[in-house]
C-alpha cells in the first residue's frame, strides 16, 4: 500500500528522485570533521526560533503602554511562558554563535573559494538578514536597552547623504523611537525569518550544486564521497545532542546571563542608561563604529566591516588549493584575525576611555588591514610555498587547475574570434 501511494505521488511529483538526489544519494566528502556540523545546527536553531517565536507572538503585545507588561505576563502567568521566552532569547545568541563558527570554518578551510563564491555570498546575505532580525527583535521587550539600542542604531542612518534626517524618521515612523517603531519592528521581526528560510533554500541549492568542501581543501575522488543520509544525518544528530546540552545549560541554569540588567527596567525616553551596549554578537562591529572619530566614517566603517567577508573570494590571490591546512601563513592570519575580533568585542563592551579607544582603533586597523593586505600576503605566500616545495599531490592539482583555466580561456577566445 505505501508503495502504491509513493508511486501515485511520483507520477505527479518528483518525491523519490528528490529524496535520492538531496539525501540518500547526495555525495558528501567522507572526511568532513565536526566543524561541518554547524550549518545543520544553524538550520535547527532557525526552526527553534520560528517555533518559539510564533508561540510568544500569541501572548506578546506590541504597544509601548503594555509591551513590557506583556513580557512579564509571559514570564509569570503563561504556562511555560518563561521557558518559551528564555529559549527564544538564548536561541538568538545560540544562532549567532553557530553562525560565527560556521563562518570561521569557511574562512579557515578556504571553503569560500571558487567555485563556492555564490554559496558564500548567499551566506553573507543570510548574515545581514539575521542581524536585522535580531536587532528588531531586541526592541520588542521595550526595556531601557531595547529603546536606547534602537535609538542609537536608527540614528546612524542620519549618515545617509542629503536625506539622512528623513530616512531616520521614515525608519522610526516618528521623530523618536516610539509606538510606530515598535509595531513595525514587530511586524518585520515576524516577517524576516521567513525571508531567511527562503534565503536558506537558495543557500542549499547553491551548496548542492557545488557540493561541500572538505578539510583537505582538495576536491575528492568519487570514491571518497558517501551519501549524506544516513552517514551525515547520524553525525549531525549526534552533534545536535551536544549542542542541545550546552543550550539547555543556558536556558535552565543561567538564562539571565545573556540579558542586560538594564533591559529589566521599562523604556524611559527621558533617562539614558549609564552606558549603552549592544548584544554580545554585535560588539566587534560596535567597537569599529566607535573607533572612527566621525559619525559618517564610523557608519561606513561598520557597514564595510560586516561586508568585508564577501570580498574574500576576490581578495585571496593564492593558487594553492584549500585553506589553512595547506597554507601556514594563512593559518596564522586566521588566528590573528580571530584574536582581533575578541579584542574588538572587549572594546565594544567596556565604556569608552582613552585607552580602550586607542586599542579599538588599533584593532580596527588590524581588522581592515587583514583584509586589504590579503591579496599581497596570499600571493607572496604562494610564491614562498612553491619555492619551499609542495607535495606532489598539490602540484598535480594546481597543474590540473591551470590546464582547465587555459582551456576555458582558449574556448572563450575561439568563441569570440573563431568564426571571423
Amino acid at each position: 500500500m505505501p508503495g502504491r501511494i509513493i508511486k501515485w505521488i511520483d507520477q505527479r511529483f518528483p518525491l523519490t528522485s528528490f529524496i535520492k538526489h538531496e539525501l540518500t544519494g547526495y555525495p558528501t566528502p567522507r572526511n568532513l570533521s565536526y566543524w561541518w556540523n554547524f550549518g545543520f545546527l544553524a538550520g535547527f536553531v532557525l526552526v527553534l526560533q520560528v517555533a518559539t517565536g510564533i508561540f510568544l507572538a500569541m501572548h506578546y503585545k506590541a504597544d509601548v503602554a503594555v509591551s513590557f507588561d506583556s513580557i512579564q505576563h509571559i514570564m509569570r502567568d503563561v504556562n511555560y511562558g518563561w521557558l518559551l521566552r528564555y529559549m527564544h532569547a538564548v536561541g538568538a545568541s545560540a544562532f549567532f554563535f553557530v553562525i560565527f563558527v560556521h563562518m570561521a570554518r569557511t574562512l579557515y578551510y578556504g571553503s569560500f573559494r571558487a567555485p563556492r563564491e555564490l554559496l558564500w555570498w548567499t551566506g553573507q546575505a543570510l548574515l545581514l538578514l539575521l542581524m536585522a532580525t535580531a536587532f528588531m527583535g531586541y526592541l520588542l521587550p521595550w526595556g531601557q536597552m531595547s529603546f536606547w539600542g534602537a535609538t542609537v542604531i536608527t540614528n546612524l542612518f542620519r549618515a545617509t547623504p542629503f536625506i539622512g534626517d528623513q530616512v531616520v524618521v521614515w525608519l522610526r515612523g516618528d521623530y523618536m523611537v516610539g509606538d510606530a517603531t515598535l509595531t513595525r519592528f514587530f511586524a518585520l521581526h515576524y516577517l524576516f525569518p521567513f525571508l531567511i528560510i527562503g534565503a536558506v533554500v537558495i543557500h542549499l541549492v547553491a551548496l548542492h550544486t557545488v557540493k561541500s568542501s572538505n578539510p583537505s581543501g582538495i576536491d575528492l575522488a568519487h570514491k571518497d564521497n558517501i551519501p549524506f543520509h544516513p552517514y551525515f544525518t547520524a553525525k549531525d544528530f549526534y552533534g545536535l545532542g551536544w549542542f542541545l546540552i550546552a543550550y539547555s545549560v543556558f536556558v535552565f541554569f543561567m538564562p539571565d546571563s545573556l540579558i542586560e540588567p538594564a533591559n529589566n527596567i521599562p523604556a524611559n525616553p527621558m533617562q539614558t542608561p549609564n552606558h549603552i551596549v549592544p548584544e554580545w554578537y554585535f560588539l566587534p562591529f560596535y567597537a569599529i563604529l566607535r573607533s572612527v572619530p566621525s559619525m559618517v566614517g564610523g557608519v561606513v566603517a561598520m557597514g564595510l566591516g560586516v561586508m568585508m567577508f564577501a570580498f574574500m573570494p576576490l581578495l585571496d590571490r593564492s593558487h594553492i588549493p584549500g585553506g589553512a591546512h595547506n597554507r601556514p601563513i594563512y593559518k596564522i592570519q586566521i588566528y590573528l584575525f580571530l584574536l582581533d575580533m575578541l579584542v574588538l568585542g572587549f572594546v565594544g563592551y567596556v565604556p569608552p576611555t582613552g585607552e580602550t579607544l586607542l586599542i579599538g582603533q588599533i584593532a580596527t586597523l588590524c581588522y581592515f588591514g587583514s583584509f586589504f593586505t590579503h591579496p599581497f600576503i596570499s600571493r607572496w605566500e604562494e610564491q614562498w610555498l612553491i619555492r619551499r616545495g609542495l607535495s606532489a599531490e598539490l602540484l598535480a592539482l594546481m597543474e590540473q587547475h591551470a590546464q582547465e583555466e587555459e582551456q576555458r580561456r582558449k574556448q572563450r577566445h575561439q568563441h569570440k574570434w573563431g568564426r571571423a
Binding site: 512579564q72 547520524a234 545532542g241
Partner: protein, 213 residues
C-alpha cells in the same frame, strides 16, 4: 608580537579602570520558603508603604506556600488576585521624595550585581560629616535609610539588620523570578535526558559509520 603584548597590557589595565566602582558585598540568595516568607514580612513593614511589586499578586504568595493568615494580613480587604501595589499613591510619593519610588518586582534583575547590589545598597547607609544620611552604593538615592542601620554600633543589632536585608533580598529574588525553582528542577531532568540521548546518538552514529569499513 610586541604590539600584541602592549595591547594585552592595555586590556588588563583597562579592566582595572572599569572596576573602580564601590565593591559590592556578595551574598547568596536563599530559596527556602521560610526565609522568603520572612523577607516578605520584613518588606511589608519596611518597603511596601512606598514601593509596589506590581507583577506579583497575593495569590502568587499563597501558591509559593506562604502562610494564609500572613497573606490575609498583608492584603487587608484587597482581593487575592490584586497586585502588590504600594500603600502610598505614586503621586504622593513623587511629591514626598522628588521622584516616584521604583517598582521592586524585577529589582534584583535590573541592576548590575543583582541581589548583591540590592543587599549592599540596603546596608550601605552611613552618616555624612554634615550629619546627613548618605549611601555608599547609590549616593544619589532619595530613599531614607529603610532598615535603620545608621548610627547602630551594637554588633548583634547590625547583624540582625543585615540578616533582615538578606531576607528581603531573598524575597525580591523570588519575586523577580518566581519560576526559578521549577526551572532548575526541570533543567536537571532535561540535561539528564539529553545526556542519555546523546550517548545513544553516538552509538547510532558509530554503528552507521561502521558500514563503511
Amino acid at each position: 608580537m610586541n604590539t600584541l603584548l602592549k595591547m594585552l597590557a592595555l586590556i588588563l589595565f583597562g579592566t582595572q579602570a572599569c572596576a573602580a566602582e564601590v565593591p559590592l558585598e556578595k551574598i547568596d540568595v536563599a530559596h527556602e520558603m521560610p526565609v522568603v516568607e520572612r523577607g516578605a514580612d520584613a518588606l511589608m513593614t519596611a518597603c511596601h508603604s512606598c514601593h509596589s511589586l506590581k507583577y506579583v499578586r497575593y495569590r502568587d504568595l499563597l501558591h509559593f506556600g506562604m502562610d494564609r493568615q500572613k497573606v490575609d494580613g498583608w492584603r487587608g480587604d484587597q482581593p487575592l488576585d490584586a497586585p502588590l501595589l504600594a500603600q502610598m499613591s505614586e503621586n504622593d510619593a513623587a511629591q514626598a521624595f522628588g521622584k516616584a519610588p521604583p517598582d521592586l518586582s524585577l529589582m534584583t534583575k535590573a541592576r548590575d550585581g543583582g541581589p548583591s547590589y540590592v543587599y549592599s545598597y540596603l546596608i550601605g547607609y552611613y552618616q555624612t560629616p554634615e550629619g546627613m544620611p548618605g549611601n555608599h552604593v547609590y549616593p544619589e538615592t532619595k530613599m531614607p535609610d529603610p532598615l535603620g542601620i545608621i548610627g547602630v554600633t551594637d554588633a548583634a543589632q547590625v547583624k540582625e539588620i543585615k540578616g533582615k536585608a538578606q531576607d528581603i533580598v531573598s524575597f525580591l529574588a523570588w519575586a523577580a523570578d518566581p519560576h526559578e525553582g521549577e526551572r532548575i528542577r526541570m533543567g536537571y531532568y532535561v540535561i539528564a535526558y539529553l545526556a542519555v540521548l546523546t550517548i545513544l546518538l553516538y552509538f547510532t552514529k558509530q554503528r552507521v559509520w561502521a558500514r563503511l569499513d
